[in-house]
Each structure stands twice: as C-alpha cells, then as structure tokens.
C-alpha cells in the first residue's frame, strides 16, 4: 500500500528532515511510526498525504508515485485517504453531522447517500446521539472521535493519524486505539505516528522507529 524507496527530504537551509528512508506497508496492515519530537514523523506523513514532495527517492501509495501527482489528480488521491490529527481540526460553526459529512461533500456523494454514511460513521465512534450538537460543546475525547468519524466516513483504503491520542487521557487513548484496530480488521491500512511509548507497547503491531530523519528500526514488539 505504502512504499518508501530511498526517500530523503531537505528543507531550505539544507536541513535534512528525512534521509534514505525505505519501508513498505502492505494493504490492510497497521503500523506505528514512533520517534522523538522533531525526528521526522510529521514530514513522513506529509509526504504520504502529498503535502510535500520528496527531495529524492520515491513515495508510492497504492501504486501511484506521489511526485507525479498534482492539481486535480492529487486532490482525487487525497479523497481516498483518511486523516486524523492530534487537534481534531473541526469546523466549530458546523454541526457534528456536517463536520463528518465534509469529505463526502468534497467527494461529490449524493445527498441521499450522505446521511447513511454519516450515521454509520457516528455509530462506529459511539456518537450517534451527538449528530446535531456543535463540536464546541463536546469534550476533547468526543471531538477526537468526531475527527476519526470524519476520517473513515468515506471508507478510505488508507488511514493516516498524526499523534491521535496526544491530547487524550490513557483511557480515551486506549479507546481510540481499539477503534483503529477495528478499522484495520475491516481491511484499512493504518499508519499511526505517535511518541507515546505506552500506546505503542499496548498493541501488537509493527513499529517503525525514526530518529533524526533516519529509519533506525522496523519490527514487531517493544523496542
């Protein structure tokens, strides 16, 4: 699903954010991307989302070389990816329902299809009773679940999460991770960037450890 071949990313001023990164993530696989703050996790995710282009090497997702995509093609690619942020990044002037419906409206789903999908996504994150609420009146955990519902509502083949449990207490973090595990069982490829050792150690998934822009470890179990 995701392939990194000798990927490097240099920013202006010759600061090297990523250097010779190689890995593959199979379809339906779930993996953690761990490392200290500033190690290069977010840069790697930005490359997968097509927000940055690699300085060298190839980033391939579902067979497409992302460096060749631009404009409408890149937008179409992003519609097949779900994204979860540390800050759920919700629109506070829209209801929970409309926030979750956003990717569907952007993708051009019909108005008859949208309610079914939003209802299903809300039920997956246990927020069926909050559809008409404003996100500003929800707790941090509930907001994060709205963000997750928005990321999965269009049934993406790939889900990318950047520190999804960063603002949550351990109990809520475990709940969010359980949701990711369920999505993975449904065949979604998931890459979760986190620096929380407890979260990573609690689940038996592959982990990619990145340090100073280099992939230093790639394997199962605790480091």
């Amino acid at each position: 699903m995701i392939e990194f071949e000798g990927v490097a990313k240099m920013y202006e001023g010759h600061r090297e954010a990523l250097s010779d990164v190689n890995f593959r993530l199979a379809p339906g696989e779930m993996a953690f991307l761990t490392g200290q703050s500033g190690a290069g996790k977010s840069t790697l995710l930005r490359l997968i989302l097509g927000l940055e282009k690699s300085s060298s090497g190839i980033v391939r997702v579902a067979g497409s070389d992302l460096s060749t995509l631009s404009g409408e093609k890149l937008a179409r690619y992003r519609r097949r990816v779900g994204v979860v942020f540390q800050d759920p990044n919700l629109e506070y002037d829209l209801s929970v329902y409309d926030n979750i419906a956003l990717p569907l409206r952007i993708s051009g789903f019909s108005e008859s299809e949208i309610p079914k999908r939003v209802k299903a996504a809300l039920s997956r994150v246990d927020l069926s009773d909050q559809a008409n609420a404003s996100p500003r009146f929800l707790s941090g955990g509930q907001q994060q679940r709205v963000g997750i519902a928005r990321a999965i509502v269009h049934r993406p083949a790939l889900l990318v999460a950047d520190e999804p449990t960063g603002n949550l207490d351990p109990e809520l973090s475990a709940r969010v991770m359980r949701m990711f595990t369920q999505f993975q069982q449904l065949g979604v490829t998931i890459l979760v960037a986190t620096h929380e050792r407890a979260v990573v150690d609690s689940l038996p998934f592959r982990r990619l450890v990145i340090e100073k822009g280099r992939l230093v470890s790639d394997g199962m179990g605790p480091r």
């Binding site: 989302l49 409408e72 097949r80 994204v83 956003l102 051009g108």
Partner: protein, 301 residues
Amino acid sequence: MNRWLLDHSQAIKDAWKRTADRLTQFMVLVCLLGILLAIPGWLAQIWLSMSSLVPEEAVQSEAIVFLNKELDVEARIELERVLAEMEEIEQVIFVPKTIALRELSAQDGLGPITELQANNPLPDALRLKFSIRALKVIEDNILTTLLADKRVLSLRYYPSTRVRYASLVEKLGLLGIGLSGLAVLGVLMAVFLVAAADVVDDQRRIELYTLLGASKRFIRRPYLYRAIWLGILSGFIACLVITSLNELFSNLLNSNLKALDPSLEYLPVDDRTLIGVAIVALLASWIGAERAVSQRLKALD
C-alpha cells in the same frame, strides 16, 4: 452533470453561509462599491443625456463658403463632391445666390428687393455642416485649404460651442474618464483586498479542505459566488444611485427642461448606462475576487 450540480449547490450553500456570517461587512461593501460605481455611471449618464438635450449648433460647427462669381457649374459640382466625401463634413448644401438674396431680404426685414434680383450682388455659396466628432484642428485645416482654393471667394465659420471650448471639453472628458477609471480600479482593489483577507481568515479551513481532497476549484467557488452576488447587488445600488441623482437633477432643472422641450419632465435615463454599470460591477467583482483567491491559494501552497 450531477457532480457539477452537487459541487455548485455546495458552493452556493458555503457562500451563503459565509455571507450570512459576515453580513454587515458584506452590506457595507455592497453600498461602498455601489456608490463608487455610480461615479462613472453618473458621468456617462450626464454625457449621454447632454448629447440628446444639447441643440445641434452646440456640437456641430458650420461654415458658409462663398464661391467665386465666375465659377462654372462643373467646377462648383466638383468642389461640392470633394467636400461631401470628407469624413469630417456631414452635409454640403448648395445655396444659390437667388435664395441667399431672398433669405437675406427676409432676415433684414427689408421686404422683397425685386429690383436687385436682376443684378444680384451676392455670390453662390456652399453651406457645410461639420460632423459631430470633427476635431477643432481638422475643422481649421479644412477652412485653411478652402481659403487657399481659387474657387472660393471667402467664407464664414460658425464654430460649435464644443469646438470653441474644445480644450475645456477635452480636459473635462479626460477628467471624467480618469475619474471613472479610478472608480472602477477602486472597486477592483476593494474586492481584491476583501477576498484576499477572507482567504487569509479561512486559511485553517482551506488547509483542512485541501487535506480532505478538495480541489482548488472547489475551494475557490464559494468566494467567486460571493463576488458574483457582490457585483449584482453593488450594480443594483449603483443603478439606484444614478436614477435617484437623475430624479434630483431633473427636479432642479425642471424649468430649463421645459424650455428645451415642453414635453420633457425628466432628464432621460439611458438604458445603456444602467446595463453598462451592471456589467462593469459584475466583471470587476469577479475579476477582483478571482485574482485575489488564486494568488492567496498559490501562496498557501
């Protein structure tokens, strides 16, 4: 087609929501742009209504060209033909000396001078009516050429008010065009700056939409719909201001209008002005917003 409809209805909803969120700002902008656009519209209105009200002699110069007495018919016809073919001359009328004498007699109140008919001292003449667009310098050139022509005895020139005050009219015209240009530029700039500020305000939302797979066209559409509404409403306000000013001036000039034409109640409003103002409003708003949004989105990349 279905996707197109969905995208546009979504953009209209978004645009409406954003407009409703900032309704006061939007309405102030509509009024401001309407007043700005009324300036060129009102100037055009003055120009067009004046040209329909002002008497012909104020805009069209005339000249009476007295022909040499010995001039044969062929030479006279040839001169008439050459003059008639000139673009700057709208009309050439041959005035035979018999008619000239009769008119002169009637004008001077001397009664019929029948005894002079047999020995008419007047020459034949050509009456030239210059075109409404003829410039002063061209009229002067034609007159100089005619004076140098052996077929011409002398001439009398009656310059129009427009030609007599040519330099002043020219300055006023340039001032009007400059002012109109500035007003339209002002509209463009105002829409540009407001749209650019909106995009900066919405930066977080735009980044989110981009991540969710929205294309640039999708992101740009609501701003352009807002600009279209802005153009329509400000064009409407501008037309309202122009017709109101027209009404006001018509009341002020009522007695003068009646003197010009008893049936004239109001200064005529030219439809071309209103249509022109509406089109300029729509185009200026659209271009201003399109440029601003494209530039800001490019900068966000």
